[in-house]
Symmetry: C2
């Protein structure tokens, strides 16, 4: 039994292919790029995330002697292959879009340049890392756009797909602009602010709601948020009005109340009135319970007096688009551009760069997908990250990544900032890249 | 930095509530149940999975002294609370549906009976474990029903939500009836058969397809499956016809070809004809590429001559229903039944059991949800699993779980075996449970 992060967490075919590459001396430099083929329905842009963990994975990739022995015992691999694996370290180069960068269909967000067996072997876990965090960051970005100025907290650990997903969703949503998470471990591992209130079970475990509020307040007086929807939301709000002055005498401030069910527009307005009538103007209203960006937009449109939102399942599972149609494809081997031509899955060959242009107001105008050496107008989005298996710079801080993400969202055209369906930014393919694709096709046709 | 499986992988409010429980001596026995409130759209049944990992989690739950120190440094908890956490072991009882059991809305699949702080503290990770594996097993079961007699392999690690999700999806799909996975680590950790072919990059890294096939065959002659859709599928099938006899002379048998794109009905028929005309009747056709249970059903309806399927993203992310509307709710505390009454989220109070009735032909007729002591006709589905924090029996083998799953699927009514939308099995609420719910409501009303 090895941990889920063992290098044996890979597809068997990667090992099979590397054995065959070694047998036939295919150790030349390969260039793979990872990109999303098509945007999911209703999505106009995506946000890159997970690079930090991807680089960690590449820097620390190593098979233990136990893992090598396990492979020897269970598969017919050659000793040469197993020796290669035992000595394997990632020695390649990585160019990538920094985390928090907005990207579109067909644009590589990472390029791996390495001896073919290395670049091949890292495929499965590299996708596993980059895809999921980009899925969550892209979903979180929609929520950030839908509820400007509101506090947004990740509540989704429980229904995330496993431990790593829960933890990484906290990171990906925070870098996209969330204010924090409920997941305690995200504070230790990533320095993310952690928030917590109380559950219905706490209220239910008491014979009456007011006692539950009192006992909780006395035990956890900091940032006190009381959950008021267990039985009757408006009745509970009136109880808060009664107990707040009594708690104040004990030096305890009620900071907020939380609604987790019912018609949040109606209830938040009723509760706001009850709190205001009771003089509790400073007590905020926090809402949760099955929210997504569409619900947030509805609540904003209705001017629901809600100050912050806890968002769970729809965020950490990216419920409308739990996966992207993405691929990590060989674009060049031994100096020759390659292209997959499978029906509906053709890719642009060669080492590529993405160039982004901005208007006078700083807004994005469009991107150009071009060969790496084919300079275009605008800013290049892929930057050098690793050379010869080593990081080029200390990791970006989450604070810096959040700034980049916020800037990118602010630069989106109006329609993309307002979650309009069916619009995206134009990605132009440079003439040089089109010419190369045609050349690769002619070469392939000649071979067949 | 702690691993994702640290006990700090929890919601902050769990720690806050436990501090408050300790402060006020709320250490009595609590009963929590985990259930799905509503079936996802188009789903008529679900399949329970993940119990083995849930029990492991409960048996091994323990805070390290470093984790306690971290909590002391970062939060204002009392020494009494931190001492409690440092000594904490799970001492409670667990009753659960065995893995592979079919279940329906409102039916508890696990019941935790423990001192309130313990039962509360385990909530987040317990849901995180049980929910995800049940999501994948339920999705996999639909694929098993859609393609009877076909080989089904999990190809979904790369787009699963992180490392643990990829590994556990291999387990959950296998127990639901899949034949294996591409994920190498699943063989070591769970004894699951692992399958692997080759990727397009392997073909692309060679100057011609035939050389690629030859080199791969010589390096990995066992269970040889050649990927034939990189350039022109039918042309590649003809190459296989040419090279198969040459490989045979070297003692290498081509076992199959894989299609990963295009119109699989048209292509599989064309390829079957080419293989048969070339005398390769024993060479099987394996298909992959964006498949889900609806695609499988279409391919079966069209009699596509495909022998096996590799299923990735739709399986490991459960793309149509990446999350269930599920909850882990307090049903009893200190001997008194409890009930949450939030709008749209009311729960049935008390310790419950699910009784399943079968017809003369062995098929499921319906379930009854009743209080634990209220014996009904049929078979009780929840069985004792842990007592006083200890397992009652060795874990079920995956082989046993697969038998249970297969039997459950065979016992489903016809409409549920055929993925008809909008049908499910009736779950009757026993009169005793209805009476208790009314009593709890009267008690709450009197309190307010």
């Amino acid at each position: 039994m090895y941990p889920a992060t063992s290098p044996l967490l890979t597809d068997l075919y990667q090992l099979n292919m590397v054995q065959a590459y070694l047998d036939h001396g295919q150790m030349d430099t390969a260039v793979f790029e990872f990109f999303v083929r098509r945007l999911p329905a209703r999505r106009g842009f995506l946000m890159a995330a997970g690079l930090e963990q991807a680089i960690d994975f590449l820097e620390n990739l190593q098979f233990s002697s136990e893992e090598i022995d396990w492979l020897r015992k269970n598969y017919r691999f050659t000793d040469g292959f197993l020796d290669y694996l035992a000595r394997l370290r990632f020695t390649g180069d990585v160019d990538a879009m920094p985390e928090g960068t907005i990207f579109f269909a067909s644009e590589p967000i990472i390029r791996v340049t390495a001896p073919l067996p290395e670049a091949q072997l890292v495929e499965t876990r590299l996708i596993n890392i980059l895809h999921f965090q980009s899925v969550v960051a892209s979903k979180a970005a929609r929520m950030v756009l839908a509820a400007p100025g509101k506090q947004l907290i990740d509540f989704g650990l429980r229904r995330a797909h496993g431990a790593e997903a829960g933890l990484m969703a906290a990171r990906a949503s925070y870098l996209a602009g969330f204010d924090g998470t409920a997941t305690v471990l995200a504070r230790e591992n990533f320095g993310i602010p952690v928030f917590g209130t109380m559950a219905h079970s706490f209220i239910q475990a008491h014979d009456d709601e007011t006692s539950a509020f009192f006992e909780f307040a006395r035990s956890r007086p900091d940032n006190l948020v009381l959950l008021i929807d267990t039985y009757d939301t408006e009745a509970a709000a009136r109880k808060v009005v009664t107990l707040a002055p009594r708690l104040k005498k004990e030096g305890i401030a009620v900071r907020g109340v939380r609604l987790d069910s019912g018609d949040l527009i109606v209830l938040s307005k009723a509760v706001r009135r009850i709190l205001d009538d009771g003089g509790l103007h400073d007590v905020t209203i926090f809402a949760s319970g099955g929210l997504d960006e569409d619900e947030l937009a509805k609540l904003m449109d209705a001017n629901a007096p809600i100050d912050g939102f806890g968002i769970g399942t729809s965020l950490t599972t990216s419920s409308d688009a739990p996966a992207f149609d993405c691929a990590y494809k060989l674009q060049e081997y031994a100096g020759i551009a390659r292209r997959k031509r499978s029906v509906g899955k053709a890719t642009w060959p060669g080492r590529k760069q993405v160039w982004r242009s901005f208007g006078d107001d700083g807004g994005m105008i469009g991107d150009v997908l071009a060969l790496d050496h084919d300079r275009q107008a605008g800013e290049p989005l892929l930057v050098p990250v690793m050379r010869h298996g080593r990081r080029l710079a200390a990791p970006s801080t989450l604070a810096d990544i959040r700034k980049r993400a916020a800037q990118g969202l602010a630069q989106l055209p109006w329609s993309l900032r307002h979650l309009s369906d069916g619009t995206t930014l134009p990605v132009t393919v440079a003439p040089g890249l089109i010419a190369l694709a045609e050349e690769v096709d002619r070469r392939c046709a000649a071979m067949m």
